[in-house]
Amino acid sequence: MEASRAPDLQIEQDPAFQRRSWRVERIGTWLFVALLGAAVSGLFGSGPLSHAAATVPGVLRVEFQRFSQYQSPDNLLIHVEPGAAPGRELRLWLDRAYLAGVRLEAMVPTPIRVETAADRLTFVFALTEPGVPFTVLVALQPQHFGVMHGRLGLEPAGDGPRLAFRQIVFP
């Protein structure tokens, strides 16, 4: 860009600054395109990069979002394999520290009762047909942002099958 070509115009141009700011615009736009790509792939929640699962083979499996968002709907999908709950009741526990950080919106199916312990809540489900696969949908909304650690498992026995998972919650 040449220096001012309009000598009769009262104007303060700054070609050097203009060139710099165009460069910033160009680089910034590409950066934002990259961010959009990250958003599509699920880096900020919902998407292939975000979807994850933790498994105890043959027993228990939880599907969760690696990346979640503050006060936005999120789901846990907990699958229990047929052999894992032989009785008429299924006892699934979630640790209290995790539940303290989320607002529980719904649980489908609804448990018949909830039992409390110092470190966990145990949700008891009635099984009309023992020995078939069982899935619980937990709808929740994170109430804090940062890293959340979740643990869940099946009772009886304190050493029953258990899983741990980690979620990053964006503000």
Binding site: L36, A39, F44, Y70, S72, P73, F170
Partner: protein
């Protein structure tokens, strides 16, 4: 991913809606048009934001809207045919003080609108002082006044 899809869908739907209902449907000419714009943004908000109170989500939505808009601008610059379909072409509504009534009626502009713009832009008093009135692609009316008596215009007239 969901936020990106929502924002892109809203962008596309609004683009089609406003393109089809005509370019003057929302060019902020009256106070009520402005109110309409506000109500539309309220109405579309939930469909786009959903149940989320997350800043990250809001940022992704805005990012998508802006980049889709920029991308479309890039496509328009490269393919003039796309630009014509998306933004239309300018249209002359008044020629040498003579309103072209068929065009006026079809584009939903009346003579009042034209004299209003003529008064505001050039302080003209009557329609016959308007050389051209053009409905621009963005829905604005632009007015070219008849030549005032200047040395150049006199020369031109003499030459003609």
């Amino acid at each position: 991913m969901e936020a990106v899809l929502r924002a892109a869908a809203v962008y596309g739907l609004l683009l089609v809606l406003f393109r089809i209902t005509g370019k003057r449907s929302l060019s902020q000419i009256t106070t009520f048009d402005f109110i309409l714009l506000l109500i539309i943004s309220e109405a579309i908000q939930n469909g786009m934001v959903g149940n989320s109170y997350s800043v990250t989500n809001a940022f992704v939505l805005v990012l998508t809207l802006i980049l889709v808009d920029q991308g479309l601008g890039l496509v328009k610059r490269r393919f003039p045919r796309v630009e014509r379909w998306l933004e239309g072409a300018p249209l002359i509504l008044v020629e040498h003080g003579r309103p072209l009534s068929d065009r006026l009626e079809r584009s939903g502009v009346d003579v009042d609108d034209i004299v209003t713009s003529a008064r505001r832009q050039h302080g003209l008093e009557r329609l016959d002082q308007v050389k051209y009135a053009v409905l621009e692609r963005n829905g604005d009316l632009s007015i070219v006044p008849r030549d005032r008596e200047t040395p150049e215009s006199r020369d031109r007239e003499r030459a003609a």
